[in-house]
Each structure stands twice: as structure tokens, then as C-alpha cells.
């Protein structure tokens, strides 16, 4: 029996066909993956199934009955639940309160918390979720919050559960646990639609996978009959290399030198604590480390976004640690001294989401010629420039005026990278440059970073993905509690050695 059939679904947004005559069949009791690059149209399709969007054309059948899904409430009634990428939980409420929100079952006019709690506990046990119904959302981890979202759908009687990129926010450990939970769910008769662009996850839990590219279905295949390389090729539309192709680095002069740097957070705790670092022209230095060991603060200090307590930062031999902000801010002086910065959080720092792509492309140099003349901005020049970058960096957008908000994550990131690399900075700082992106976009971005190195520029890479650090870096510095506690050679090191260092076990002196 088919749990879901979506037949000939088409959905247009201004300037783009997000879903183009899509056919999707999901069998009851299977884990069905939707695979596609960022912006392929996966979320749009599932938002249609969940009633958040109405399709322009096409029909939907649930359990082989034709339906029109007018909204999420209707979807719930049809037994469809969705776990969104961004959780919709009320932080100060308890798990139980969040789950019953919008589906409060009352007895004689009062909400029966006891009963709800028991029911939630039962569901949690049944599917191995290990959620405490009385915990406050604010006190539990992101992984747990996701399970609360799962419980929410189960409490509403979902038979078909949609997961929209659920692993993007999880740690590797939590990902394994989620996979186990998914298996439990299907064992109990649920049907799962799993959106992802991570091939490993598909290979490990899914039964079938439907590949979507630029709004069209490319194929539906049995996972047992395929492999990661084939899936990647189907998804991107060409062979994808998982390896970064680069030649031996030929480092020359020192571009960035950090000496005994101390940076304090708002509470006055030194989060970067006597850190030394050197990056030379023509090399990529990767900083490996567990999140929260001072990486973000190190970068914000170098780029002038955070004050420095003590120490020296020099760029091309010039000390910039205490640049006076006589003309513009310190951040601007440092940018002008030749630093490009791909920030770790593209929504917080990297983009003004409500600006068009054109205005975002000149965020670092809008005040310079030719983008401005006197006190005016020369929009003709800005647009011309934006169009060139859109072309060169393959940013998929309907036009240069499209708001950054409405681009997919991969294209947003490409826009930032275009802006930062095109200014040809002597030092490029790339923080989590590929977080949340698909293999096609990752390959593209890695290639651009290596190209930048090959132009004789220095690159400082920060990433929590060991894979990325190992592939891209020419030298790896391990950061632990605000200090660099060791350097390793990516060609000779092992994941084990790195893992130990990252956990704070310093290497023996003299190595």
C-alpha cells in the first residue's frame, strides 16, 4: 500500500519553478529519502504535503485516497506530521506543555496535564526517545528538542512523519541515535520521509531514495542497488569528486602572525588565552577543535569585531591589534588591510537577509569607487558587479534584486564567498564555510578556497568537520581551551591523533 502519492506537483515562486511536475510515491512502512542540492525544491514539496503551501498543479493521495490539504491542522488529521529544521518550541515551557500546545485535550474544561504527561511518557518509552516530559525546553539539548518535535507529531497521531534535514543541527553521536529512532518508528508501522543531502545517512537507514534536481525528479532508486558516488552524480548532475585536488603548498612570507593573544568574553572570562598562530602566503592553515574552545572569539578578534585584551596581531608585518578607529571602525580598517572573512554564521554576520543580492555583494566596499560617488551609491555599478559575481560563482537566483532571504543556504553561502574572494584579500578567513551545504556546493567552495591559496594568498580555515580540515589544510593547528596545543601534518596524522589532541592531550614537546 502507498502511504503518499504526489502526482504531477508543480509549484512556482516569482522567478522560479520550485517543483516542476513532481511524482513521488512513498510506500507504507518505509524510510524514503528525498535527496537534492540546496534549493532543489525538497522543502517546498514537503511544505505542500504538510499543507503550508498550495500546489499550482497536481494532486495528492494519502493512503490511496485523493485529498486537498488546506493547512497543517488538516495534515494532522490525515496523519501527517512534520519535524521542521527550525524547531517551533516555546523555551520556558515544559516538554508536555509544548507538546499539547494547540492540541489541548480537556476534561470538564481543564487541561489534564497528568494524563497528557503519562501519554507522552508512554510514547517516549515505546519509541525509545528517552524524553523527560517535565523538563523545560530551555534546559535540554538541541537533540532532545528535536525528539520533542517528534513526540509532538506522534501525540497528534501521525502515521507519516516528515523530517526536514534533521541531522543538520545534530552532533555525530546524536545523529546515530536519531537513525536508531527512525528504525524504531518504522518497526512500529510508521512511514518516514527523510530530507537530507548527506549520502552516508541515506545509505545507513533508507529503503528508497528519490533524487530531485532543480525542481524535477531525476529518479527513484532502491538504496540497496546504489552507492554514494552514483547518488552524488544523480543529485548534482555530474561526477562529483569527494577528494580535494590540490598540489603541494608553496608557502612564502608570513601574512598573519598572532602572538600571546588574550580575548575575554562578556563576563570577563579569557576564552582565547595566550594563543600563538602563524599563517603564510600560499598555504591553508586549518584550526581543528571542539566547538567552544575559542575559535569564534579568535576570528572575531582578528577581524576587529571583538576587543583584544592583550597580545599582538600583525598582518603583513603591521600590528593591527590596536588600530585606532579614526576613520571608520577597526573592523573596516582590518578589512582594508587585506582580510576577507567568511563568517561562521551567514545569517547573523554574513548577509543582510532583507537586502537584495546586489546590495549584499557590496557590503564590504559599498563606500568605495565605483560603487559610490560623493554621498550617493551608484546602483548601476553595484548591479553590474553583482551580476558578474552571480555569473562567476554560479549563485542561483532569479535576479540580482532577489532578497538574500529567499535564496537557499548554498546560494547564500556562494554569494558571501563571491564577495569575500573577489576582493582578493591577502588573508582569507573561512569559518565553517560549508556548514549545512550539499556535496556539489561543498566541492565548489573547496575548489575556490584552494584556488585562492594558489594565487599566493593565505587562508585560515576553521571547521568542526574533521573531514574538511584534513582534506583542505596544508597544516593543522589544534585549539583547546583558547590555546593552540599542537600542530599536525594532515598527510601523516590520523583521526585518532587529532581526536586525542582535540580532547586536550597535548603532544610531547619537540614534535
Amino acid at each position: 500500500m502507498n502511504a503518499v502519492e504526489m502526482i504531477g506537483i508543480t509549484k512556482r515562486f516569482p522567478g522560479i519553478v520550485a517543483n516542476d511536475n513532481i511524482h513521488l510515491t512513498v510506500k507504507k512502512g518505509e524510510i524514503h529519502a528525498l535527496l537534492g542540492e540546496n534549493g532543489a525544491g525538497k522543502s517546498t514539496l514537503m511544505n505542500i504535503l504538510f499543507g503550508l503551501y498550495q500546489p499550482d498543479e497536481g494532486e495528492i493521495r494519502i493512503h490511496e485516497k485523493k485529498v486537498t490539504i488546506t493547512g497543517p491542522t488538516m495534515a494532522n488529521k490525515l496523519g501527517i506530521g512534520m519535524v521542521h529544521q527550525h524547531f517551533m518550541l516555546v523555551q520556558p515551557f515544559t516538554v508536555t506543555e509544548n507538546i499539547i500546545l494547540g492540541d489541548e485535550r480537556t476534561s470538564s474544561g481543564f487541561i489534564d496535564y497528568k494524563k497528557a504527561e503519562q501519554e507522552i511518557q508512554k510514547l517516549s518509552d515505546q519509541y525509545g526517545l528517552k524524553v523527560n516530559p517535565r523538563a523545560k525546553i530551555a534546559d535540554i539539548s538541541v537533540g532532545m528538542q528535536q525528539r520533542v518535535e517528534i513526540l509532538k507529531t506522534l501525540y497528534r497521531g501521525a502515521e507519516i512523519i516528515i523530517f526536514d534535514e534533521p541531522t543538520a543541527v545534530l552532533t555525530p553521536q546524536e545523529i546515530d541515535e536519531l537513525m536508531a529512532i527512525m528504525r524504531n518508528l518504522v518497526k512500529e508501522g510508521k512511514t518516514i520521509i527523510f530530507i537530507t543531502h548527506k549520502l552516508k545517512e541515506i545509505m545507513s537507514v533508507c529503503d528508497r531514495v528519490t533524487i530531485i534536481r532543480r525542481g524535477k525528479v531525476i529518479d527513484t532508486v532502491n538504496v540497496a542497488d546504489t552507492n554514494e558516488n552514483q547518488l552524488a552524480a544523480l543529485m548534482v548532475g555530474r561526477e562529483v569528486s569527494f577528494e580535494v585536488i590540490k598540489e603541494e603548498a608553496k608557502p612564502t612570507r608570513t601574512v598573519l602572525e598572532v602572538k600571546n593573544l588574550v580575548v575575554e568574553d562578556q563576563r570577563g572570562v579569557p576564552v582565547v588565552n595566550g594563543l600563538d598562530l602563524e599563517v603564510r602566503a600560499g598555504e591553508i592553515v586549518g584550526i581543528a577543535g571542539v566547538d567552544g574552545n575559542g575559535q569564534s572569539e579568535l576570528i572575531e578578534a582578528i577581524t576587529g569585531l571583538m576587543p583584544i585584551k592583550q597580545g599582538k596581531i600583525s598582518l603583513n608585518g603591521k600590528n593591527v591589534a590596536h588600530l585606532k578607529a579614526d576613520k571608520g571602525t577597526r573592523a573596516r580598517r582590518i578589512t582594508e588591510a587585506g582580510v576577507g572573512h567568511i563568517p561562521e554564521d551567514r545569517h547573523k554576520r554574513g548577509l543582510v537577509l532583507d537586502f537584495g543580492i546586489n546590495e549584499n555583494m557590496v557590503l564590504q566596499n559599498y563606500y568605495q569607487s565605483p560603487f559610490s560617488k560623493g554621498w550617493t551609491i551608484q546602483y548601476d555599478e553595484v548591479n553590474k558587479y553583482a551580476n558578474r559575481l552571480i555569473e562567476e560563482f554560479d549563485v542561483r537566483t532569479p535576479s540580482h534584486e532577489t532578497l538574500a532571504r529567499s535564496l537557499s543556504g548554498g546560494n547564500q553561502q556562494k554569494a558571501i564567498i563571491a564577495r569575500e574572494i573577489d576582493r582578493n584579500p591577502d588573508l582569507l578567513i573561512a569559518a565553517q564555510p560549508t556548514r549545512g551545504l550539499d556535496v556539489g556546493a561543498i566541492e565548489f567552495i573547496h575548489r575556490r578556497i584552494v584556488e585562492h591559496r594558489d594565487k599566493g594568498k593565505a587562508v585560515l580555515l576553521v571547521s568542526f568537520e574533521l573531514d574538511e580540515i584534513l582534506k583542505l589544510s596544508d597544516r593543522i593547528a589544534v585549539i583547546y581551551e583558547g590555546k593552540i596545543i599542537g600542530w599536525v601534518d594532515p598527510k601523516t596524522t590520523t583521526e585518532e591523533e587529532l581526536g586525542l589532541l582535540m580532547a586536550g592531550r597535548a603532544k610531547k614537546e619537540g614534535q
Binding site: 573592523a331 537577509l353 537586502f355 554621498w375 551609491i377
Partner: protein, 353 residues
């Protein structure tokens, strides 16, 4: 704001206005008045005769400037609820120039208007400065400054600007007046004045400033995302202060126009005029765009001035028109029209399939 997308703001506004008028009609009927005659009186009484049209424009003038003032602050992420106080201080400063200085016609008016604008800007400086430097919420300071302005103005009027404790000041010098003969005659001796030209000019200035200049680019960036603005090397604090100065300048012009054009003097005020607060609604309905502000100010002008006529012609108390205004604001703020449109679309689809 982010969920109001561009295409639908006009539709949203129109639907909200329509719904507001319907709610007003229901309220009138319930209160035992005839809504049709009331609305007839309202529009007839505000638009059909030259005199009334002139008075409607006169009512609209400060609403445009107050709306622009709130809108430009909004664009930088600030809520200028202090327009009321900035207007009062501007009014007072323009009046002092109008009474105490002796300048040739024309120049006197220009100086008085500018002094008013600058006074408004300076009154807005403090909340902007405290927000930028100490992180104090501008709303709190603005509200306090409104009261300081109100009572300061009253004290000065009573003790300095009037002879022997009268309730209102002498008239400004005719040289400083914004009234011009050809406008007054065109509109049958209503109190319309050059303030409307200033207001329309400022709407253009706001457009040009925000969407054509470097400063405008920075103000909008700071408003949308201060973290990205900081990343881009902008001076966020300075932009916050500049935005409040411009906002206060617009408010100041509104106040200067009132004293130099409409009234010619100021009286002791026991309460706020409400124009500054209406400016918030005007900006909201006008989606913080200059053109939107002009049209929504015009609507508010028609409603406000027309409601007085409604009382004469249809015996409906003008308070009922405040119900219409409140309902419109409610519908815009709650984006009811957006939700209605969604429901209609879904229903239509459900029928089709």
C-alpha cells in the same frame, strides 16, 4: 515586518482600510446612527469644497511629517515614540524665532522652520545617544522626554512668552508665516500653508536618502541586521544617533509647520495633540515607505478633519471615527488581510479539485 512582503503591502493596506470602515459602520449602527449618512458626511465634508479640501490638506501636513519621522527611525530599527515631544519643542523654538527675531519676509520663515527642525532633532538626540552608547531603550527615554517637553513648553509660555500669565502667546511676525495668499485664495481662505510643500519635499528626501545614498544604505543595514552592519565595518552607534536626528528633524518640521502655518501662536496645552502618536499609525499603514506615508496620512487627514463635519452634518460623534482608525491599525498590525487572502486561495483550490 519581515513577513509583510512587498507585493502585498498595498493590498494589505487597502483591505485593512476597507475592513476598518466596515467595523466603523457596524459600530455606528449599533450606537443608533445611520452609517451611510455618516460616511457621506465624512467624505463630503472633507473633500468636496475648496475650503474643506484645504483644511484636510492642512490636517494631513503634520501627519505626513510625523509619519516620515516614525518611518525613518523604524528603518534603522528604532521606535521613535517621542515625535509628540519633538514637535512641541520645535513648535516652541520656531515660535520664539517668529516672535523675537526681526527678519525680512521669506527669510524669517525659512530660519524659523529650520530652527524648528533642528530643535526637534536635538530633542531626539538624547534618546538616540543613550540607546547607542548605554543601550537604554529609546521608548522609555522618548516617553519621558515627551512629558518634559509638554511641561517645559507650558512653563515657558506662562512665564516668559506671554504678558501677565495669559494662556496663549502673541502671534508670530507675519514675515515668519507659512501662509501664502495664492494658496489661501485657491482654497477659499482655509488655513492651508506651505507646510504641505515641505512635507512632500521631505518624503522625497527620505526616499532619496534611504535608497540612493551611502548613509541610507548604512541606516537600512543597521536596521535590518546590526551584526552584519558591524561586520561590514559600519559604525552602528553613529548610525543610530544619525537616524534619531533625522527622525527628530522631520518631527520638528511638523511642529514648526503647525505654529508657523496653522495657528500662528501656541497655547498652554493640557495634553498631547496626538499627531505624533497618529504618526506611528501612519507609518505602519504606509509600510514605512515615503509614498505609503503620504497616502496613509491623507487618509488619516480625511478621517480626522471629516469627522468634525460628520458631527455637524449627521450628528455622529467624531469619537466613532477613532474606532475606524483603531480598527484599521488593528487589521494592519495583525496582518488579518494576509490571512484572509490565504483562506480565500485555499478555499478556491479546494473547490477546483
Amino acid at each position: 515586518m519581515s513577513q509583510l512582503n512587498k507585493q502585498s503591502t498595498i493590498v494589505t493596506a487597502l483591505i485593512s482600510i476597507f475592513l476598518g470602515i466596515v467595523v466603523g459602520a457596524i459600530a455606528m449602527q449599533l450606537a443608533g446612527y445611520n452609517a451611510i449618512t455618516a460616511y457621506q458626511a465624512l467624505f463630503q465634508g472633507s473633500l468636496f469644497q475648496a475650503f474643506d479640501l484645504g483644511e484636510t490638506i492642512r490636517t494631513t501636513t503634520p501627519l505626513i511629517l510625523a509619519g516620515l519621522s516614525v518611518a525613518i527611525a523604524f528603518r534603522t530599527g528604532l521606535f521613535n515614540i517621542g515625535v509628540e515631544g519633538q514637535m512641541i519643542i520645535a513648535q516652541l523654538s520656531a515660535l520664539i524665532v517668529g516672535i523675537k527675531l526681526n527678519l525680512p519676509p521669506g527669510l524669517h520663515a525659512i530660519v524659523a522652520v529650520l530652527v524648528g527642525g533642528i530643535a526637534g532633532a536635538l530633542w531626539a538626540f538624547l534618546p538616540g545617544f543613550l540607546k547607542a552608547v548605554r543601550g537604554v531603550h529609546e521608548v522609555i527615554i522618548c516617553i519621558m522626554m515627551n512629558f518634559i517637553a509638554l511641561y517645559l513648553s507650558n512653563v515657558l509660555i506662562r512665564n516668559w512668552l506671554t504678558e501677565s500669565g495669559a494662556d496663549s502667546t502673541p502671534k508670530i511676525s507675519p514675515n515668519a508665516s507659512l501662509r501664502v495668499d495664492f494658496l489661501s485664495e485657491m482654497f477659499d481662505h482655509s488655513r492651508i500653508h506651505l507646510g504641505i510643500v515641505i512635507a512632500l519635499l521631505m518624503a522625497f528626501v527620505m526616499y532619496y536618502l534611504l535608497w540612493r545614498t551611502k548613509l541610507g544604505y548604512e541606516l537600512r543595514a543597521v536596521g535590518y541586521n546590526p551584526y552584519a552592519a558591524e561586520y561590514a565595518g559600519m559604525n552602528v552607534k553613529r548610525n543610530i544617533i544619525v537616524s534619531m536626528l533625522i527622525s527628530g528633524f522631520f518631527a520638528g518640521l511638523a511642529g514648526a509647520g503647525e505654529v508657523l502655518g496653522t495657528h500662528g501662536y501656541i497655547a498652554i496645552q493640557s495634553a498631547f495633540t496626538g499627531i505624533g502618536f497618529d504618526g506611528i499609525a501612519v507609518a505602519l499603514l504606509g509600510a514605512n515607505t515615503p509614498i505609503g506615508v503620504i497616502f496613509s496620512a491623507l487618509l488619516f487627514g480625511v478621517l480626522t478633519y471629516g469627522s468634525q463635519n460628520m458631527e455637524h452634518m449627521a450628528q455622529v460623534p467624531p469619537e466613532l471615527i477613532r474606532v475606524v482608525v483603531a480598527a484599521i491599525i488593528f487589521f494592519v498590525a495583525a496582518n488579518i488581510s494576509g490571512k484572509l487572502l490565504d483562506v480565500v486561495k485555499t478555499k478556491r483550490r479546494a473547490k477546483e479539485s
